[in-house]
């Protein structure tokens, strides 16, 4: 199960917070919610907060890549916060560190 929470601190900036288990049985929900927001957001900045989500398999990395692609295609910016060690390791296992380098933001909330 995974729950999403949308908040818009400023008109230019939307935050999508996920809460729960992020794996291949819930990945399609994360994808759907995020892409929906991206379509609505247009070229603004999207922040995905995974502090309270636990990624346990590589399907979440794939979904993050897909979201990143879509955001970039729209000329927007993606920020990932609250990425835990395990997810970071999965990203480097998939040799995607470079792609995510300026996307992953260390905690500063």
């Amino acid at each position: 199960m995974i729950k999403s929470l949308i908040s818009c601190p400023s008109p230019e900036h939307a935050v999508l917070e996920f809460n729960g288990l992020f794996d291949r049985s819930t990945a399609h929900k994360v994808r759907r919610d995020s892409l929906k927001l991206v379509q609505k957001q247009g070229s603004r900045e999207l922040e995905i907060d995974l502090t309270n989500a636990r990624c346990i398999d590589t399907s979440c990395v794939a979904v993050l890549v897909e979201i990143l692609n879509t955001v970039r295609k729209q000329g927007g910016k993606l920020k990932l916060t609250g990425i835990d060690d395990n997810t970071a390791r999965m990203i480097s296992l998939s040799q995607l560190d470079e792609i995510f380098e300026d996307v992953i933001v260390a905690e500063k909330k």
């Binding site: 049985s25 990945a27 590589t58 794939a62």
Partner: protein, 264 residues
Amino acid sequence: MPSADLIEVRGLKSFYRGRQVLFDVTFGIPSHQVTVIMGASGCGKTTLLRHLIGLKCTGQGQILVDGEDLGSFSEGLLKSYRRRIGVLFQGGALFNSMSLRENIAVPLKVHTKLADETIRIMTVMKLNMVGLSDFSEFMPSQLSGGMRKRAGLARALAMDPEILFVDEPSSGLDPITAAGLDRLLLDLRETLGMTVVVVTHELESAFKIADRIVMMDKGRVMALGAPDEVRRSTDERVLQFLNREADTHMINIDSYYESLLDKE
């Protein structure tokens, strides 16, 4: 054997049409570790692996998965066990009517509700792990044996299995690619906490990646334990295998003469 083992093999005997190929094989596979099953070719490694993945019925002996006997699993239980495992077969076993990308997408398409684009990204990621991301649209017949093996590994990894069984992953590979695969297996254990069971006859790679070694000889477990324990073994045949001495006793001289002379 401590009961912390994920899979326990107890007194397993195996037969092919009456000919015995495994004799009282007993060992354990610890979870989140790399277990290497090692031995000369023809000693029964693949047969043992087929027992572990439930493809060959256990006639005598037991295989316990989480303490439950694999042989007594109902169809449903066997299915849920198999959703936890990923298998690389000795021949790769790729579907030859599909491209590599489609091959790897098969389990994802059947078992998950992921979107096509997500599946595509995942397949490319898996192919990249085994160093084949440039070949996603190739058909298996257009690849070399070693590449097919690696693609098979990518497919085994598609579902991020809890337990990964690989049969001779580095056969037909150059040393550099083989070392890359060893690295990958260790990374998988680290990152995803996978339990990895590797069948191999390559000494070097075995000692590099193993947390536990099961050394087999002619259907029997010859040595068992951590790499250091195996290395310190004083058993003559173990030493012979470790030192790569040619096997002078390999041929049974009597039966050799017999088969030469005995022509009706």
